[in-house]
C-alpha cells in the first residue's frame, strides 16, 4: 500500500487536513506501523524545533509585545501618517491653498507637523530652482513630537504679531482667461476642459524671529546639542507668494470637500476614507516661485536646514553633511517617509522634474514637481505616472 506523503503527515499533525483526507489518513495510520513511526519522528522533530525557537527573541517579556501599549504607539503612528499621507492631494499642496498660514508656501516642502513647517521657513533667501527629496522615518521622530512642539507654542517664535497682507478666500473662476486675470500671470492649463479652476491669492507676511523661543522648541525636541547662530535673533523674515492656481480634471473630489476633510482631526474618517481613486482625476497646481528674504540678509540658512534634517531623523553628523550639500537658497525640499514612495528624476520639456510615486498601492498616487521660468508646477494623479509626465509636457 502507498504510504502517506510528508505533507499529509505534517498536516495531520496540525489537524489541517480537509475532512475527507483526514479520515483517510487516520484510517491508514491505524494499520500502518511504518507511517506511525514516521509520524512519531516528525512529531518529535516539530516539538524540538518549537522548543528551540523559544530561545529566539522576542522573549515573552519583550516590551513591544504588549498589545495595548502597541496600540497606543500605533495611534501615534497613524496620527503622523494621516497628517502626511491621508489626502488625495499631496499633503504639501494643502497648506499653500488654504492660505491661512503665514508659512503656507514653505509648508509645501514639509509635510508633517506645524513645527516642521515653522522651522522650514527660516531660510534667509529662497527661490525655488530645484527640488530634492529627502527620505525620513516617521517612527524615528521623538515620541509625542507634535504635542511637544505645540506645547512650546509656535506662535511665540515671532514677537507679538506677524504682518500679513493679501491672502484671502479661494476664488473659483470660469476659465483660463479669468484665472490669468485673477492670478496676475499667464496661467498654463491642460488641453482638456477643467472640472474645477481655483485661484488662491498671494500674500506677503513679515515677522521678526525670536531665537530664545526657537531654542525652547529645540529643547522641547531634546535637540540640546544644536546651537543657533546669534544673528537669527531679531532677524526679520518676509515671505512673498504669488497667487496659486489649482485646476482639476476628470473625476476628482471637489476641493471644498477635500479641504474640509483635511481640516478634521485624524482618525475621524470622512469622505476621503475609501474614496475610489479615479484614474481620470488629474490636478495641476502652479504658483510663482515663492520668496523668503531676511533682514539682515547675511543670515545663513544652513544651520536651520541642519535642524530640519535633525527633526527628520538624521544623526547630527549626517544632518551637518547633508545640510552643507543642499543649496538651501534654491531648493525645495520634500520629505518622504522611507518606503512610502519611490521617486526619481524625469524630464519635462527639458526641465528636470521630480516624480514621486506612492509605494504599495493598487492605484498609486503620483506627484510630478518641476520648476520652469520662475514658476513651480505640480501635477498630481492616479495610476500611470507616464501619462502624468505626458500631460505635463503638453501644458499650454
Amino acid at each position: 500500500m502507498t504510504h502517506l506523503s510528508e505533507g499529509d503527515l505534517r498536516a495531520h499533525l496540525d489537524h489541517e487536513l480537509p475532512a475527507s483526507r483526514a479520515d483517510q489518513c487516520a484510517a491508514h495510520l491505524l494499520t500502518c506501523p511504518v507511517c506511525q513511526q514516521r509520524l512519531a519522528a516528525m512529531q518529535a522533530r516539530v516539538e524540538h524545533i518549537r522548543a528551540t525557537l523559544q530561545h529566539l527573541p522576542p522573549s515573552s517579556q519583550a516590551w513591544r509585545l504588549n498589545p495595548r501599549a502597541a496600540y497606543r504607539r500605533f495611534q501615534s503612528f497613524t496620527h503622523t501618517k494621516e497628517l502626511s499621507m491621508s489626502s488625495k492631494l499631496p499633503a504639501w499642496l494643502r497648506p499653500a491653498l488654504t492660505g491661512a498660514l503665514m508659512l503656507a508656501v514653505l509648508v509645501a516642502a514639509f509635510t508633517l507637523a506645524p513645527a516642521r513647517q515653522a522651522l522650514s521657513a527660516f531660510l534667509s533667501l529662497f527661490r525655488v530652482e530645484q527640488v530634492t527629496v529627502i527620505t525620513f522615518d516617521p517612527n524615528a521622530l521623538p515620541a509625542n513630537f507634535a504635542n511637544r512642539v505645540d506645547q512650546a507654542n509656535l506662535q511665540t517664535l515671532f514677537n507679538d504679531s506677524v504682518d500679513v497682507q493679501g491672502g484671502g478666500e479661494l476664488l473659483a473662476v470660469a476659465d483660463a482667461a479669468a484665472a490669468t486675470t485673477a492670478a496676475g500671470y499667464p496661467v498654463r492649463l491642460l488641453a482638456q476642459p477643467a472640472t474645477e479652476l481655483l485661484v488662491q491669492p498671494g500674500l506677503t507676511a513679515k515677522g521678526t524671529l525670536q531665537a530664545a523661543q526657537l531654542q525652547a522648541i529645540l529643547d522641547a525636541l531634546e535637540m540640546k546639542d544644536v546651537t543657533l547662530p546669534k544673528d537669527l535673533d531679531g532677524a526679520t523674515l518676509t515671505l512673498q507668494t504669488g497667487a496659486a492656481v489649482v485646476a482639476s480634471y476628470g473625476n476628482c473630489v471637489r476641493y471644498a470637500d477635500l479641504s474640509a476633510a483635511t481640516m478634521r482631526g485624524p482618525r475621524t474618517g470622512g469622505p476621503m476614507r475609501g474614496a475610489p481613486r479615479d484614474p481620470s482625476c488629474v490636478a495641476l497646481w502652479q504658483m510663482p516661485s515663492p520668496q523668503i528674504s531676511a533682514d539682515p540678509a547675511t543670515v545663513d540658512p544652513r544651520p536651520l536646514g541642519e535642524v530640519l534634517l535633525r527633526v527628520l531623523g538624521r544623526t547630527p553628523a549626517e544632518a551637518r553633511q547633508l545640510s552643507q550639500s543642499i543649496n538651501w537658497a534654491t531648493t525645495l525640499v520634500i520629505p518622504i517617509p522611507t518606503g512610502a514612495a519611490d521617486y526619481r528624476e524625469v524630464t519635462v520639456n527639458g526641465a528636470t522634474a521630480t516624480l514621486i510615486v506612492e509605494a504599495e498601492a493598487e492605484t498609486p498616487a503620483y506627484t510630478l514637481v518641476w520648476t520652469s521660468n520662475g514658476m513651480v508646477y505640480a501635477l498630481f494623479g492616479f495610476g500611470d505616472a507616464a501619462q502624468g509626465v505626458a500631460l505635463a509636457q503638453s501644458l499650454k
Binding site: 519583550a62 502597541a70 522611507t338
Partner: protein
C-alpha cells in the same frame, strides 16, 4: 497672529464603531505578527515599524473578508520591511538589534547565544519561503494564513513545512552538535 487651528469634529458614529472593531483586530493579531516578523527580520524595531505599516494599510482599506487577515498582514509587513531595508542600503540596517535577555548566568547566556546563532544560521540556509512558513507555523499561524501570506495553495503548506523542518533540523544539528533533534 492667528494660526488656523484644525479642530477635530466629533467622530461620526460609524467611524467610532469602525475604530473599535479595528482595535479588536489589532489586539488579536499584534503579538503574533510582531513575533514572527522579529524572528524573520532579526530586528525588533524594524519588525514593529513594518507591523504598524501593515496595520495602517489594513485600516485604510479594509478587506471584504476578514478571515485571512493574519496572512495578509504578514505578507504586507514583510514587503514593507524588505523595501525599507533596500532603501536604507547605505546605512548598516541589518545590524541585528536582537539581544538575548540577560539571564544573570554567564554559562546560560553563552548557551542562549549559541542556540540563537545556530537557529539564525539554520533559518538562513532555508529557502526564503520555507523559513517564513516555519516561523509562521511555530508562532501559531494557520495553514490558510501561511498560504495567504506566501501566495501558495493551502494544500501545499504541509509539504512546505515538512521539508523546511527537515532541513532546519539538519542544519541546526550541524551548528549545534550534541543536540539530537
Amino acid at each position: 497672529m492667528t494660526v488656523a487651528q484644525t479642530t477635530p469634529t466629533p467622530a461620526a458614529e460609524t467611524a467610532t464603531h469602525r475604530d473599535q472593531a479595528f482595535e479588536a483586530v489589532f489586539t488579536a493579531h499584534w503579538a503574533r505578527l510582531f513575533t514572527v516578523l522579529a524572528r524573520t527580520l532579526g530586528d525588533e524595531a524594524l519588525a514593529e515599524e513594518a507591523a504598524q505599516e501593515a496595520f495602517w494599510r489594513l485600516y485604510q482599506r479594509p478587506p471584504n473578508s476578514w478571515h485571512n487577515v493574519g496572512g495578509w498582514l504578514y505578507k504586507v509587513a514583510l514587503h514593507v520591511a524588505y523595501n525599507a531595508m533596500r532603501a536604507a542600503k547605505r546605512r548598516t540596517t541589518h545590524e541585528s538589534q536582537v539581544r538575548a535577555p540577560a539571564l544573570g548566568h554567564p554559562e546560560a547566556e553563552a548557551e542562549q547565544a549559541l542556540t540563537q546563532a545556530a537557529v539564525q544560521a539554520a533559518l538562513q540556509e532555508l529557502p526564503e519561503r520555507a523559513a517564513h512558513a516555519l516561523l509562521m507555523r511555530h508562532s501559531g499561524a494557520s495553514y490558510q494564513e501561511i498560504a495567504s501570506a506566501l501566495g501558495v495553495p493551502p494544500n501545499t503548506v504541509g509539504t512546505l513545512l515538512a521539508r523546511a523542518e527537515a532541513k532546519f533540523a539538519q542544519v541546526f544539528a550541524r551548528h549545534h552538535p550534541g543536540d539530537v533533534p
